[in-house]
Symmetry: C2
Subunit: 337 residues, 2 copies
DNA sequence: CTGAAAGCGCTTACAG
DNA sequence: CTGAAAGCGCTTACAG
């Protein structure tokens, strides 16, 4: 009476075992590749599996192995418009690298000092490890991760060098760009920077200072404007710098740089004829500006890929370098000629 | 000899049952709230649980219930710079809404016509449902989702109205903005649009046309430039429009609008004195432009929140509206005065 | 109201 | 090389 002519529904290894007259154990081993199974049996199982498009239930496997095959990627909830291409590219690279090793990425979007989203994920035991997309001084999330003993990797420099981290060499990059500008004899420089709570801004400041030390020039401390967040603060800083006859405006990132450029335009100062402009962070907007802006470029895909590999290797129990340092490019453009 | 004075490690409901002299069944029921448990027992369990910061293993629960408490969020891998704030905000809203209901979000980044990332996630049975962040005509991902019978919701209009989708009323929004411009007597209009494969661009075109029909004016078919992707194509289109004495440049999105503005500047045409400009998609860049650009604004957080609720309700077996339509705002700014 | 038992779909000692 | 059995940490009929 029943119609059983349809293609059998294969839901789990039990079904396969029944069809093939094997035990679940053997089927499991043939699929996973772990444990010894005869060539013939393995081939039989594998052919069956691919014929029926069977994929083992990753959740069940995880439960048995006490793993989840998921990692969490923590990204800032709010970000300036201009930082996003960088973030997106590194997210892309993380996802791709994870997928290559059959891991999935859980998204945790949170603001600074807010880690409930990550806490929920850890409480629910949904991930094997975590990737942090930026680093802050005194980040409560770090304490949470350390307390829970969850393996994690930070994209960006961390205060504690014993923690896993991967970063571009911002210090050296900023030092080199600053030194080049000094060598071009752009001596009246000003530096515009954001929150020093972002460790990357500390690195940038450090690089800037090192260039002066290297060249043997005196640091223009009165022209270093930091903790700039709002447009008004920046406008005041730019005006102050103009009063001090600054002729080379160095910005810590592209968002600040965009505001500086806008302000200079309002003040009627032309780039590069009247003043020079450079940025410690590149983006499409820097390249597209008229004139194009000299900037430091970082490969965000490489950053994401490296961080993800580092974490997955760590999860696999491999020996992993704690402190990986990546390179940078100096994009010399018209704004500093 | 042994030191057992430390706080006991509570790993699972078995441990709790042992400590409290109850069965795992009762503990499970007390925690989940399902099934009858006496007030006293429930209280005892709950107090124990919160004292020991115990959280049930979501993966194990999922396996038993045949659920994962995960959803996948599919976002485009490559996106123009300017689209991102919109995407990020809706992603944010999806994550928050999911978290409120104790669901997590798996990130699937993929290009058009490429669905391996999603396929992997579905094959591995890692999610209960899927949210699509944009809609395309003839999207192979849709076929995959339908074939696999995975519940999903699209942010954006779908050709098949029987599928779950939530969208802003782009047609009406574009119609209204166009009509307002026509009523202001900006009759020499041109429309600049991207790929019609993006369904939202179809809606925009439809709205534009409807406004002409509504006002009873003749559609300037020769000034409708579509499928513009590369800057050169757009430049040619702008020049052609200028030749045809177009005085109001309407752009389908902010990215195109930015290019149009740049081109008009190069051609020495001032906004709004010489020509007017409007965009069917708002962003920070439109508001910050000099002059600020009239544009249609959509609440991306509302979009994400609504899509996520729709999906989670669907997964809960609730009755869900198939076709949700959200509003819009007309941001009338200096570029059209 | 409570519990023993079976089950979710896997893995993995252990024994043969 | 292969398999029966126990286990991962939960849920949920079923019985009392």
């Amino acid at each position: 009476m029943e119609q059983v002519t349809e293609k059998k529904q294969i839901q789990n290894i039990g079904d396969i075992a029944k069809e093939l007259g094997l035990s679940k154990t053997t089927v499991s081993r043939a699929i996973s590749g772990k444990g010894r199974v005869s060539q013939a049996t393995r081939k039989k199982v594998q052919e069956f599996v691919s014929q029926y498009h069977y994929y083992p239930n990753a959740v069940a496997r995880g439960l048995a192995e006490k793993k989840t095959y998921n990692i969490a990627l923590v990204v800032p909830k709010s970000f300036t418009v201009l930082d996003l291409p960088f973030l997106r590219k590194s997210m892309n690279a993380v996802c791709e690298t994870a997928a290559e090793r059959n891991y999935d990425v859980l998204l945790s979007m949170s603001e600074a000092d807010e880690y409930m989203s990550l806490k929920r994920i850890l409480d629910n035991r949904k991930v094997d490890g975590v990737i942090l997309s930026r680093t802050l001084l005194e980040d409560p999330m770090l304490d949470l991760l350390i307390e829970r003993q969850v393996p994690f990797v930070a994209m960006g420099r961390l205060k504690n060098q014993e923690l896993y981290q991967v970063d571009n060499n911002h210090v050296e990059a900023c030092q080199n760009l600053t030194a080049l500008l000094l060598l071009k004899d752009y001596r009246n420089m000003a530096l515009f920077g954001g929150e020093l709570r972002n460790i990357v801004n500390q690195s940038r400041l450090e690089g800037f200072k090192k260039a002066y030390a290297q060249i043997g020039a005196e640091l223009p401390s009165e022209c270093i404007y930091l903790e700039l967040e709002h447009e008004e603060q920046l406008e005041k800083a730019v005006e102050d710098a103009v009063k001090k006859h600054v002729s080379c405006f160095v910005c810590m990132d592209d968002a600040l740089c965009k505001m500086v450029l806008r302000r200079l335009r309002v003040l009627g100062l032309r780039v590069p004829d009247d003043v020079k402009v450079a940025s410690f962070f590149d983006s499409q907007l820097m390249a597209e500006n008229n004139p194009p802006v000299t900037a430091l470029h970082f490969d965000s895909e490489e950053l994401g890929r490296t961080a993800c590999r580092q974490l997955l290797d760590l999860l696999d129990g491999k020996q992993v370098e704690k402190n990986i340092c990546l390179g940078y490019q100096l994009m010399m453009r018209d704004s500093t000629t």
